[in-house]
Every structure is written in C-alpha cells, then in structure tokens.
Symmetry: C2
Subunit: 330 residues, 2 copies
C-alpha cells in the first residue's frame, strides 16, 4: 500500500499474463480462459487493484459518467426521480455527476460545459434549455441528452416526461366535475408550472368557467408560501372555493394556515397540490394531488441509456403520463 496504487501491469505480472488479458478479464470475463481468469482474480485480490476509471475513460469510448443537472436539491420535486435515477445508474456501473443549475437555471451553460469536458456518456436535464445555440451544441456533441419531466415537441435528443399543459387541463376537468366554481391558482414562476396553469385556465374557460385568479410565487416553492398564499386570499375580489397549488408543499402550508384561521378543509375551502409527494397522503386532511411516476421516469431513462450503449433504436419522446390522485382535500 505504501507508495503508488497498483496498476494493471502489476496485476498482469503477478498473474503471469499480459496487461491486455487483464483488461479483457475486467471488461468481458467470458472471453478469457477460466484458469487464466482465476489467476487474474487472485492477483487482483492480492494487489488490492482498483481500476483507474480516468484511464479507462480516456482509452475507451465510454466514461460511464452520467451528468444529472437539476435546479436544486434542498427541496425539489425532482428529488424522488433523481434518487431513483442515481440508484438505477449506479447499479449499472455508472457514476453520477450531480450539478446544480440554480432555480432559474442560470448556471446551466456552465454546468453543461463542465459535463462536456468530463466526456460524460449522457447528460440528463430537468431544467429546460431555451437557448437555441446551446441546444445545437448539445445535439452535435455526439452524446445522449435526455430531457426529463417535460415533453418538448422537438427534443434535443430524447425526452422522457409528460405534457404539463395536459396535466393542467386534466386538473381543471377533475375539479369541474367535482362541482367547484371558483378556482384560484398559486403558480411557481417556472416554465412548467406556468404551462400547467395555462392548461388549467384554457380548459376551465373552455368549459364555461370564468378566468381563475392567479398568484405567482417564487421558486423553489415551499411550505411557507402556502401560508402566505392563504393570507393573500383576503385580497381577492371573490373568495375561491378551491385553491390549486403548484406543489404539495404549498398545499400543505395553505391547509395549515387555513386551519389555524378556523377554516375547515375541504368543507369551506378545497385545496389541491402537485407531485404526489409522500406527505400528500400523510397530511390531515390528505391532499388531492397529481402523481408523476418518478421511478418510471428513472426506468425509462435507463432504457434509453441501455439502448444507446447497445446501439439500438429508441423513441425520442417517451410519455410517462400523470394522474390525479383524489383524496380528502378536494
């Protein structure tokens, strides 16, 4: 252990074979003779050899490094998806470089450049790349680029997600059917939340409702905003009968504040969330939310990655859908 790390050569010397054979054993054990393999295995054991993956990446065509770019992780609706993705990727022998791009994605360019420099096999995005030049650069970089959570018409490479507009429309349909009349929207300032809100509004008005009122809040959204949003209700011209929140955290905070004010949910005021986080089912009352299957997204991402590694064809737009989870709060 003193001094330098053992190298492939050291293992080869001890096993009495060439470095090439050890390399083959490491990458496709089935191609080396069983007896040779056994000797190599023993030598690896004895030397405490750990493959230098930087060298492997440089010499080979794959780095087995995947970059995941997310706005934040302190309190992000993507966390479940990211966790599931990291788990899947790791079990497949990959390492994940996690980069934070900031709530408004202002560090996106820098982090994409960094990922490109590391020669990652793939970049997984949760934020939206709106810059046309950057989209082109990613396209011509020759690596897999997966946009998740959204489902753009013309993906950079592959997209795994759902239509946020359709999700908004679905929520409008659901609430109308339940008989609500005056929805109020609490909308985080992110492209996707806004798209859901627009979908909601379009559908709601199309079905004969009047335009829902709307409160915009900063991202990332959190519990405290729900409390503030509740208090903002007093300023509205007419009281809403249901508040459609951009996230479950906002919904939870709003319910807590309403209850503190002696308002019963959903009798006097109904509330819906988004994301179907664990707390939505645990809250009192339980929160009606919209479920996005993060584990499914993670699996589809893996499917794409494996297809690319194998050189097989894969769809470029994978819709994982969404569904309303009706609970007590609305």
């Amino acid at each position: 252990m003193a001094g330098r790390n053992p190298r492939l050569d050291d293992v080869a010397a001890m096993a009495g074979v060439s470095a090439a054979t050890v390399s083959r054993y490491l990458n496709s054990p089935e191609v080396v003779a069983a007896a040779t393999g056994a000797r190599i295995r023993e030598a690896i054991e004895k030397t405490g050899y750990v493959q230098n993956l930087a060298a492997t990446a440089l010499a080979g065509s794959r780095s087995r490094l995947i970059a995941a770019l997310v706005p934040d992780i302190a309190q992000s609706i993507f966390n479940d998806t990211v966790e599931a993705m990291i788990d899947e990727l790791a079990s497949d022998g990959n390492s994940v470089m996690l980069a934070l791009t900031g709530a408004d994605n202002h560090r996106l360019t820098r982090e994409i450049n960094m990922a490109l420099g590391r020669r990652v096999d793939a970049i997984i995005l949760t934020g939206i790349v709106s810059d046309g030049e950057m989209r082109e650069r990613l396209r011509s970089a020759g690596i897999t680029v997966i946009e998740t959570w959204g489902l753009p018409e013309d993906p950079i490479d592959v997209a795994v997600g759902f239509s946020h507009r359709a999700a908004g429309e679905e929520m409008a349909r659901f609430l109308r059917q339940r008989g609500y009349k005056r929805p109020h929207l609490v909308v985080p300032r992110s492209t996707r939340s806004e798209r859901r809100a627009d979908g909601f509004t379009t559908r709601w008005m199309h079905d004969g409702g009047s335009e829902p009122t709307r409160l915009e809040v900063h991202v990332p959204s959190h519990f405290g905003q729900g409390r503030l949003a509740y208090r903002g209700l007093g300023d509205l011209p007419a009281q809403p009968d249901v508040v459609v929140c951009g996230s479950d955290w906002i919904a939870q905070g709003l319910i807590v504040e309403a209850q503190a004010a002696g308002i019963r949910v959903p009798d006097q005021l109904a509330v819906t969330g988004f994301g179907n986080l664990r707390l939505a089912g645990d809250m009192r009352p339980t929160i009606t939310s919209m479920d996005v299957d993060g584990a499914r997204i993670a699996r589809e991402v893996m499917r794409v990655l494996r297809a690319r590694a194998a050189g097989t064809e894969i769809e470029t737009r994978i819709d994982v859908g969404f569904r309303v989870i009706a609970r007590e709060s609305a």
Copy 2:
C-alpha cells in the same frame, strides 16, 4: 463540429504554438506571454475547444472530482448541506459525484470503491464508516476524506461536524429549564439520532428526571411518522408533556395529528424537532428545533479542500456546533 472533438493540438496548431504552451495557458495563464495568450484564446474560441478533463486527470495529479456520499436525497436532513457543498465546490472548478449509500449505508463500500476508482481528490461522507478495514483503506488511499455532521474522536482524516451527544444534552437542559417534566423521545434508527437520544437521557436523569420513554422509528424519517408517533402516545403508561422528535418532519407530522385530535400545541403537548429546516419556522405553531449550520459545514469542507490543495496544515476535528432555536412549539 463534424467528426471528433478538437484537441489541444488543434488549438496549438491554429495559434502557432506547442501543445505545452496551450496547456500552460489553460492552467496558469499568467506564465505565458500576453500576446501568445491572446492568440491561444482566439484559437480556443474558433475551434470550440473543450478541455478533456479525463485526460487532464490522468496526466495531472488532481482530478477535480469530489465524491459526496449521502444516505439518500429524497428527504434528507443533509440536503441543505449537500446543496451548499455542491455550490461551493462547483464555483471552485470541481465536479461532484453524488453517490447514494442507502438508509442503512449498505452501499457504502461499493460507492467508496467506485470513488477510489475514479481517483477523486476527496471523499465527503455523511454516513458513518464503522468498518475498521475500510477506515484503514481510506486512510492509506492518499486522498482527502472528510466525515461530516459527526465529530468522531479519531477521524479517518478530517471531520467537520458536532457532537450529537452534546446536542442531546443541550436539548435536555433546555426543556428542563422550561419546566417540562415528562419527555418522550421519537428516535430514528440511526447512530447519530440514537447518540442524541442517549445524551438527552443521560443529562435528563443526571438532573434528577426519570428515564424518558422512547419510540424508535425507521430512517429516513418523514412527516407520516409524526402522525403515527402521536397515535402511539396512547399506549404509554403516563402521558408526556413534551415530545422530542428526531427531525422537524416528525415534529410537523406529530403537531398536525395532535391538532386534528383537538390537542393544542404547546399548551397541552409541547413538541421539539431537529435540523431547523425552513418549515420549522413556517409551521403553525412554529417549531422549536435545533439548528445545524449546513452552510457553515460546506464552507469548512471547502477550507479543508483548499488547504489540502495548497499543501498547508489543517485541523482534523472542526466543531461547527449547534444551537436550540426556541419557538412556539415548546
């Protein structure tokens, strides 16, 4: 753009210098002549050159890759710290490999090996490495290893954190001073939570209190457990006057359930959390919690890393402390 990525050689050729000079310009611009630097800059621009960091890592002594190993990120008390750390590291030109070790750290060994294979400059741990052999391996790996959140007597290399036992003792002191008589502890099954609970119990009994009752819950802890914990109160021989929760999420859930049962917090039942998450200050009532300065931990981690890069000395145990944040709930 068609074909391969531009290399150092391409830039060198266009600028009319050698690859060595371009490399120098990239790593220490001040050492090349201003005019030469300008030509190189231009060539980089024109070729769209992006340094291959895998090659840089292999040839040089630093990879500028840092591994951060955390149990999970779906709902982790470490998230704020990890986010602050990633931000700090990225702004210093590093990339962060995030690895998930699982709630009970069962993937710790695998992920450490992976990090070692990537030849990371440093490994940042949040979980506890209890395996003696692994601790030895990390010690002799010749890289920086930073254990965070805890403060072991004999760190593998450097530790940045605080004494969980002392934190438990401090909470006992605080509650006794407030006049509470019968604390009940809700303890996640993690070494550190248990240490805090032990510290609490020791101190409480030392000050003349009788042994607090205790409920153990799974990790990672979450909102729903607080609700269950509240319901478990009915089974206790005597009703507690304060519930000491292992996390703010548990505290929040417990408060919601208590209120749903018509119990007023803190008048009829006081509650404390741990972690001082944002929601602690936003909840109704606001939650008395224990603050751990995640941003401070992140800064200290950076200080260690920079000291190591510069080859200067650094302490091996850095205590960032903790403090009780007294709010409405207790």
